[in-house]
């Protein structure tokens, strides 16, 4: 739905590509495609098969958004037993439904590129699609949110007495959460070589318990080792 929100740019975009299947915005469907853009994490056995089918047909598979990219918020349920979660939500009717621990697309099939974040940045999505059309590697930053936060002239979140995942989280959002008075919650996933030990030490020094440190990573990065 963030893509429907592109509006004018979307109309330009559909002039460049042939959208063959987009259930949320159009009626009609085709299995003949080069690029598949998939959103959401995998939370049922049947979705693994469906994703494998898409992977076979697509030359390029793009994970769209935090859930597809890193597992995202759905992975919060992975810290409970699946039977217990089903029982909690559906009670005596739990038997009708199935669920497996949530995982990113890359846990099931090879993924070529990702548009990170929750929500995705609409402009970044356009950049990724343009790069793919030109046969280039999409330009996703591999430096931490702190770089963008400093360039905005924000007061460091730690200096305001809060804690933040900015030092280990992939930039590209323009440090939007610190800019609007909040902490970075890590929705874009970790940079490629995060210095996690040192960052956990910083969080400890700022008074967070081990449980609180894990909880801060679990919000979006629950599938990653750092949160377990």
């Amino acid at each position: 739905m963030q893509i429907v929100n592109l509006e004018e740019e979307l109309l330009d975009l559909v002039g460049l590509v042939d959208v063959v299947s987009w259930r949320e915005a159009m009626t009609g469907h085709s299995d003949d495609y080069d690029i598949a853009i998939v959103e959401g994490s995998i939370t049922r056995e049947s979705e693994m098969e469906r994703l494998k089918g898409i992977r076979q047909k697509a030359r390029i598979l793009v994970a769209l958004g935090a859930c597809a990219h890193i597992g995202g918020i759905n992975c919060l349920k992975n810290f409970f037993e699946m039977d217990e979660v089903l029982e909690y939500v559906y009670g005596k009717d739990a038997r009708y439904f199935d669920t497996i621990p949530a995982r990113p697309l890359s846990a099931v099939v090879p993924v070529d590129y990702a548009v990170p974040g929750c929500p995705i940045d609409r402009k970044e999505f356009l950049e990724v699609v343009k790069a793919l059309l030109l046969g280039k590697k999409p330009p996703i930053p591999n430096y931490p949110v702190c770089v963008e936060c400093r360039s905005k002239g924000n007061v460091c979140v730690f200096d305001k007495g809060m804690t933040c995942l900015g030092p280990v989280t992939r930039a590209g959002c323009g440090a939007i959460c610190p800019t609007y008075g909040n902490k970075c919650e890590g929705c874009r996933g970790l940079v490629d070589d995060p210095n996690l030990d040192s960052h956990k030490e910083v969080l400890r020094e700022h008074g967070l318990t081990v449980e609180q440190i894990l909880n801060s990573f679990r919000m979006f990065d629950g599938y990653m080792e750092v949160a377990r």
Binding site: M1, Q2, V4, N5, E7, E8, L11, V14, W22, R23, E24, A25, M26, T27, G28, G40, T43, R44, E47, G72, I73, N74, L76, K77, F79, F80, E84, V85, L86, Y88, V89, Y90, G91, D93, Y96, F97, T99, C118, P119, I176, C177, T179, Y180, G181, N182, E185, N215, M219
Partner: protein
Amino acid sequence: MKDGKINVHYVTRVEGHGNIVVDLKDGVIKELRWEVPEAPRFFEAMVRGRSYADVPHITSRICGICSIGHTIASLQGIEAALGVQPSEQTVLLRKLILHAETVQSHTLHVFYLAAPDFLGVNSVVPLAATHREALLRAIRLHHLANEWSDLLGGRTTHPINLVVNGWTRLPTGDELRGLRQRITEAIPDLEAWVGIFKTLEIPDFQRETEYLALQRDDEYAFYNGVIASTDGGTTPVPRYREKIHEFVVPYSTAKHTKAARESFMVGALARFNNNHAKLSPLARWAAEEMGLKPICYNPFMNNVAQLVEVAHCLEDSVRLINELLARGIREEDRNVEVRGGIGVGATEVPRGILIHEYALDDRGTVTGANLLIPTNMNHNNIERDLKALTPTIVDKSQQEITLVLEMLVRAYDPCISCSTHLLNVRFA
């Protein structure tokens, strides 16, 4: 088509996955189901163990369309549990950003998802050639709503700066004046679409049902209120379980609900039917132009009711901004005293009443949650409408029947991925 099957595996142009399954024999329904096979998501289970402060940002992720509404219902539930009364400024600003979401969601639905049906095309894209001016007006309105959310919430979806007992970043007076000007300038775009909609042929189908909406004495309720019914009577939000009853059907991961009758409807039409007398003058004009009169039992008119509400939200937002400017924007203390408790929040989101209930321990950690999603409340009514509508159109071709049934589902503007994680947890 008197005999045969219709199997719409994924209704398109709705948020999430829903299927219509029909089996006809001699023009009589052998079987008809509205199936929601979307993966359940378990947010109520997932928020257990999290700090109260994280919860609005987690539950915001239930939906990419009504993330502002989820944030607000969540804040209200937590504030009720903590015994916090947010300031008047906080509430006025929350009302203003909630209007942004209503305009954003209604324009997305009416213009981009539903209008293609009424104009005979399969998506909004062909309208760029055939209805360019109207489409540009639609884009302007929707774009305004997006930037309105950006301005107040930091971004279009999943607002950043709405927190328990306040705002982490307040808009400036200049920003609010700029917004007021843009809203005022958008009114002709809305008026033009009212002109288009009054010429469109809306299917004439009526089925009497119960309509539930929040209600207030002093305004057309969006932010909060008591639960009102067109069958009469009101229920205070904390006692919502006495009014709204949930049950599971095996073919749907979303639960079904009923109130006094076998099913009920929530959303724009339900709000209009309960609260039409409190609409703004522009909204009342729009309703009259498009022939929407209370009590309207035609679910297809939900599209029209949404457009009426866009008019109301635009006009009411000017009032809210005037009030905020007259008061003056000031930084406020957001600190709260953490304590344990149970709290219920309810707000009108684009698709109807949204209820968030939380139990907190004395450190402010969530120990239980219950979320009631408006699309969920509508599933049962959708299925009963489909059952009532189908026998009246069996003389049409299979293709035409399919289109009308899909249009009916779309008229409800279902947000299916939202609706697949509801439960009825009883707090001990």
